[in-house]
Symmetry: C2
Subunit: 433 residues, 2 copies
């Protein structure tokens, strides 16, 4: 197939007419699918049902240190939950705090605390004229929503297959002391599924920020979320690298079991240096009587150890892999060679990132929605919802069943083709077109 | 028994010598008891064990609206959990948001949000020179810790048997627009066990605060925590009263199941006007993907409805009542008529408030600790930990078994007597005495 751009006007118009018939067929199907978020499927949720009755006698509810996990006490997590998540997060158990059900909430609280109380003695950010964050793009919309909520100015940094543009990151943080952080999803990134190279991680650890309260917000959400047993990304451990580089306090690392056990009913954790954790514990003492220890113990009893988590993740992979492969197959078949889109082929995580021709993403998502498939909003992967080239679309293959996913991806490809032809022909792409 | 103050020096010295022998006996017992916090006993925790396996099939995990509560979605609580807690909190279900495991965390977040974002459009408090809170005293140390953490100036307001001194509250809030809130535990107050009278609640609802972002922080922690079936305190419902008074937005009401199901693994809720909740939901959307819905459903399936909660609370009362009565009996027997202490006799809640002679509380708590009984720190019931008269001590009878509680209370009474005699005799009460 030769690229659309080389087709004659007549060829493109004929193709568009043909596509319109396919659209009609989809209209008749009356699809109603939501692919907006990285939600696990019901089949995946069922994998963790054994967790629901793993604690049923009072004896089961005693922690290894003898504490009754049903009562008050233990602010920062029970020891066995720390051990479990420390192994998963590749840090010593003393460098971890176990929180509630959401790592997003930890990140929000971390920014909120920095606004009102500063970071390890720094001026509270709310007292500063300007606070900025670096945002590798495309990235995770909920990260950007937090910084926007607190009035923090966001600066786009382009992502590459090996991580953010580190020349730019190094230059900016060393020159501007109003830059207080950078959002990172370092492994199977959201939305591309890229993993930071060893060199990128080492350059992160060796940053020389002008602001002493600069922190790397390392959201390792997909640390064990591989699709293939024999083809996995590896990530250098950032806390260790920061310590080796003489910057032990420069990173907060976040993770959770949201896409391991149950989204919204998992356990989340923060890993950081002792200096950081000491400060955070002082604030936690004021904020809470501690998080849900029963749920922490429930996870420990169910997974037993890190090997249990890895085994469990292979079962998730068996469900997810065919879905990722189906999307790639359909896009390759439908769009290959047409020069109207590129997409990533991750070996883990929850998303595929699709780049259309410039100026087409919003129109494509709009067309899909008209025909019953809701995608993540175009622009959502950029700060303020503004994709300067209007080309990035996040595909979330996890939730629909395989059959629905195939229909949705076929429809998506069709919309990409239709919108691209209109773009090339100079036709209107507005909502009223 | 005549008051110590009327005893001769010789009589007091002889009494002190006798008490020293009793002290010795306690030293030999080598007690090690912690009565510092309002922790339920193991016996109480066992009442909720049925909750642990009440959800065990995937069908059990479907909400009444068809949502799978194991997955993402539903920001502000599942409908059936709203119904359950709305009944308990005496508000319509649409005026409630269900949170995570801790109402303290809701209060913290509420203050934190007001600091960074203001209240319904007001100037963020962090931009103001001065923010003040009214604190009925004695009160709950964790409330005071939150306001202190955010640099909010706290003003003591004396408590009475019918609630805070409302003349003072009315005057202060109407004159000073830097006063942004008041901490209230309106039913079975912490530490006295007092409940606000209907008149007090009505005067609260009719406050005319100078600050438009003034809110009443109504921590109804002990709403169903009665000790007696036939002798219960009743509290006028504050949201309704505020609405009737034309002040619908003036109150945040907090509650949780911490001392109903499991402390730290219960569910917490906020009730407020739609205007308030709309603002809070906008912030929650940024902060979290939602709280633990599985645990919400677990509570609903276990308690079924509000009648189930009430039935369950009678079982708690059967365990707690003898403990409260034992403390009162011992204090009456040991201290009655001596004029060296007064204590409350609540019919609900978790605490008994004890007032010693002025200047004795710290010494009494210190003496108890020496002999193996840890009480709540003297001063803890006041902002900044400063009890101006050094007389208030919070007694928490719930956690120890009855036998231990009896020993601990006997020891406490002994310490009260010893310290009071020393005080009357003008002897040194410093830590080195």
């Amino acid at each position: 197939m030769k690229p659309y751009i080389e087709w004659s006007k007549e060829e493109l118009e004929a193709e568009l007419a043909r596509l319109r018939k396919e659209f009609k067929a989809f209209q008749n199907k009356a699809l109603s699918l939501n692919m907006a978020r990285g939600k696990p499927s019901v089949e995946q949720l069922n994998l963790s049902m054994g967790m629901m009755d793993v604690l049923s006698s009072a004896d089961d509810l005693t922690c290894e240190d003898g504490a009754d996990c049903r009562n008050y006490g233990i602010l920062d997590g029970i020891a066995e939950a720390k051990d479990l998540l420390a192994a998963m997060m590749e840090v010593p158990a003393e460098n971890i705090i176990i929180y509630g059900n959401s790592s997003l909430n930890i990140m929000y609280d971390t920014i909120s605390r920095s606004m009102t109380h500063g970071v390890m003695g720094s001026t509270p950010w709310c007292k500063l004229d300007k606070v900025k964050f670096l945002c590798p793009v495309p990235g995770y919309d909920r990260h950007f929503a937090i910084t926007e909520h607190f009035g923090i100015e966001m600066i786009n940094v382009p992502m590459t297959e090996t991580g953010p543009d580190m020349d730019m990151v190094e230059k900016l943080v060393s020159e501007d002391d109003s830059i207080k952080g950078i959002w990172c999803v370092p492994k199977y990134s959201n939305p591309q599924g890229y993993s930071y190279s060893a060199e990128t991680v080492r350059r992160f650890a060796r940053l020389n920020p002008k602001a002493s309260d600069f922190r790397i917000y390392w959201d390792n959400a997909y640390c064990v979320h591989h699709l293939y047993d024999d083809h996995q990304d590896y990530l250098i451990e950032i806390l260790t690298e920061c310590r080796r580089a003489g910057n032990p306090d420069m990173v907060y690392k976040f993770s959770s079991t949201s896409k391991i056990s149950f989204p919204g009913s998992g356990i989340a954790a923060l890993a950081a240096s002792s200096n950081n954790l000491d400060e955070i514990r002082r604030q936690m003492t004021i904020q809470t009587i501690g998080h849900d220890k029963v749920n922490q113990l429930r996870h420990v009893r169910f997974f037993k150890n890190f090997e249990g988590i890895r085994r469990h993740m292979r079962l998730h992979a068996d469900i997810l892999r065919p879905k990722f492969e189906a999307v790639d197959e359909i896009l390759t078949r439908e769009l290959g060679g047409l020069g109207i889109g590129e997409w990533t082929k991750p070996c883990g995580g929850y998303f595929i990132s699709f780049d259309s021709m410039d100026g087409c993403a919003k129109a494509i998502v709009r067309e899909c929605k008209k025909l019953g498939v809701v995608m993540t909003s175009a622009g959502a992967t950029f700060p303020y919802g503004i994709d300067p080239r209007d080309r990035n679309i996040r595909i979330a293959p996890s939730y629909p069943c395989l059959e629905d996913l195939i229909s949705a991806t076929q429809l998506f490809a069709l919309c990409v083709k239709g919108v691209s032809i209109k773009k090339i022909l100079g036709m209107e792409l507005t909502p009223h077109s």
